[in-house]
Symmetry: C4
Subunit: 245 residues, 4 copies
């Protein structure tokens, strides 16, 4: 497997663990939602199979689809929203991983006439990276809808989908997953802030220019720290609850 | 037991498990609430006995009542609200199972001058299937009250009962239970959305016509997937906590 | 011990368990709060000793005080708010048990210009039994303050104390504890209802006259059912977590 | 180690435990946040090393920095916000311990145009001890920024940092940690109160003069009781979950 430092099995194991990390961070919505990973051999992308909750995903729960949605490998049903992934991966050469999920607060926020203001660190980090999609409030089940979604996403790393949920993407499993965790937290915080009826705000453009402002992403070490942290917490949780995959 | 594929014992075990699944999904209110199942031999209906919380219900915790509320079989007290079930089962030949419960958010939502708008998938799925009952804010303890409730329910699959809670119904244990889970989640989401003070909305009529919109119920596989998911989570929960029935 | 069916040790064990039941139902505020029980031999009242959280109270964690606050029996410090109990017990011959606690939602509700409207069953049950005290927002540390509080309480079964918490009372451990649980739940529900911005209401006077309306207390069996339920849940919780006293 | 009653190892163990107590009380934000303790030998201060969540900190996870941020002892990375601690310790000779953290509700409250009114005991205790900092919404990564923060803090025991979090300080590990716990709880309570839309208030100046009003801090025993309580709860939690350090 030249050019790919980790074998596919190892990557799929990490992808499965990312689903379970999302489960510990508010992203479970029954069996809905899925992550994808671009196949390193160029055949298409690996997608979580249908019928499982995020907390149930192991390394063998992925199917390989080509970019037209044909199943090339693996057993299990295809999520009907596979075009979310095919079209983002087609449009964005920098993206290797994509997350689609329905966490409670991001889904509610998506239904509101609101954009992230940056009340907390996570919201500041995500605010200028989020697109807002409302062409349909329903499922993305056609290539055309996937293309529209990818178009709205543009060069951003996340898109809130009206009355539906979110899709995030990134160059690594860590990046895409952290964006999903941050976006749910950000939406939760802004929902709480809005409900107070107080005036509230995030940093303005001038603040953001001042050497990082509330942005943590100026420090390249932090993302690695955060990802290691979530991986360790998953290990502790699964050990304490005698969960193995 | 001709015409009934599963023996009664097996069905009552599934009915008991449905109570415990509801317990894991926000429907516990002390010993209040109950599910019923139409007797396959035409004698009446099986009702959870009084005095138990949803998390405590095993397969032997049901009594068989005729449609006038007379106990035909089983030990334990009859919930005083048995007419909820007798009258819905009388009025709706398609209904085999009914859930009555007092989850926090649905109960609060029932006390508000509000109808579901469909902010999230669960709310969209339930919005046009919910009736709103406010003839009494008290218990349903007479056949006449039960008939009034069934009248308001009509052909829908759920009814919010003002300052009281909800009743759902369906052709299967899975259908009635999923409706109860979705309605509580829907009410919770709309309460949170309303509290933000933001403008917010669900899909409009045109959206709903466009091939499913936010509706998941266009896909017949999903209900089966969801029910299997909740059954597996109950198994995991009870195993982790060494709970057996 | 003529006239007292249960020995004191057994009653103190039940009183300790009531503290732990309150702990499972949102009443923990560090080491603050305490229950009291009228001594069946007429010597005064038994009070939880200071320094323990509700979840930590065992049957030996009570001291016997006379009605002037002098310690007659037991080791451990006296909560400075003992006059809450002495003065309610002096004023109300029907009261055997009193609960003072600081649960989050009742404390917040106490700080608001609001009275319970009865949005859910628990709120309906408590609404006409709650007095509102705001003579001081501080601790009740003198006999005079205790007398004022008892005066505001009058013949009710609970009093919300502004910016402080609640005190409930009853003829039995079960009654006083259930009132405390219901009042916290009621305040939580009304806080959530108010935050929606929707119009909302509980039953009006006419509703309440109609044979019970949303009131559960018309059924004398229910209180016993509820208390048994909470006792069983405590047993399960302590067994699952290997907690023994 | 003349003049210092407890050896450094023992103090660092208590400091580590304080991080884990904060973790149990809502202060975890991935690997962000840190406590410091003034070195009893005058060399500078001990700071939690970077890369760990509060729930992961053991006694060996501290590094000794001088007041210019140079590492004198220990392994591990330095949090970039070390100037928060150096400058508060420089400015306040009475302070031995400082906490910097990002709990959800205090962070949201910091982003609002609001000051604590004292809706519950914890809020009353903190209300006149909190400063409000909004010079930057970003990280405190320079000595000058640290000095500005210490200037805003003045003689208070806590400072809310706009769109960022909180810093508290005290003469002991217990004092600084309790202030952090109280401030998060206070912000949570005031956010909930504000969301109701009810009129609400805390004690006014006259109330506060009346022998303590809602203030618990008039009783010197209470702080010790609270700290012992939180230490015991940590022990129980770690034992129940087989966690050891």
């Amino acid at each position: 497997m030249p050019g790919n430092p980790k074998p596919i099995d190892q990557q799929l194991n990490e992808l499965a663990r990312a689903h379970r990390i999302l489960a510990l961070n508010g992203h479970v919505n029954m069996t809905l939602g899925h992550m994808s990973w671009r196949d390193p051999e160029g055949r298409g992308f690996w997608l979580k199979r249908a019928g499982l909750g995020f907390e149930e995903v192991g390394k063998d729960d992925f199917i390989l689809l080509d970019f037209d949605g044909n199943k090339l490998h693996g057993s299990g049903e295809r999520h009907s929203e596979w075009p979310i992934h095919s079209e983002i991966l087609r449009a964005r050469k920098d993206v290797q991983v994509s997350v689609h999920s329905h966490p409670l607060h991001a889904t509610i926020f998506s239904g509101c006439e609101a954009t992230l203001q940056g009340v907390c660190h996570e919201a500041v980090m995500m605010a200028d990276k989020v697109a807002y999609y409302n062409i349909t409030k329903g499922l993305i089940r056609t290539v055309e809808q996937g293309r529209e979604l990818a178009g709205v996403l543009g060069e951003k790393s996340a898109v809130l989908m009206k009355n539906h949920g979110m899709t995030t993407c990134g160059a690594t499993i860590a990046d895409a997953t952290l964006s999903a965790i941050f976006l749910e937290k950000a939406c939760n915080a802004e929902i709480i802030a809005a409900a107070t009826g107080f005036s509230w705000s995030g940093p303005d453009a001038k603040d953001l220019l001042l050497g990082g402002a509330a942005r943590l992403d100026v420090n390249p070490r932090l993302s690695a720290d955060f990802w290691s942290y979530f991986c360790r917490r998953l290990d502790v949780y699964e050990k304490q609850n005698s969960i193995s995959f």
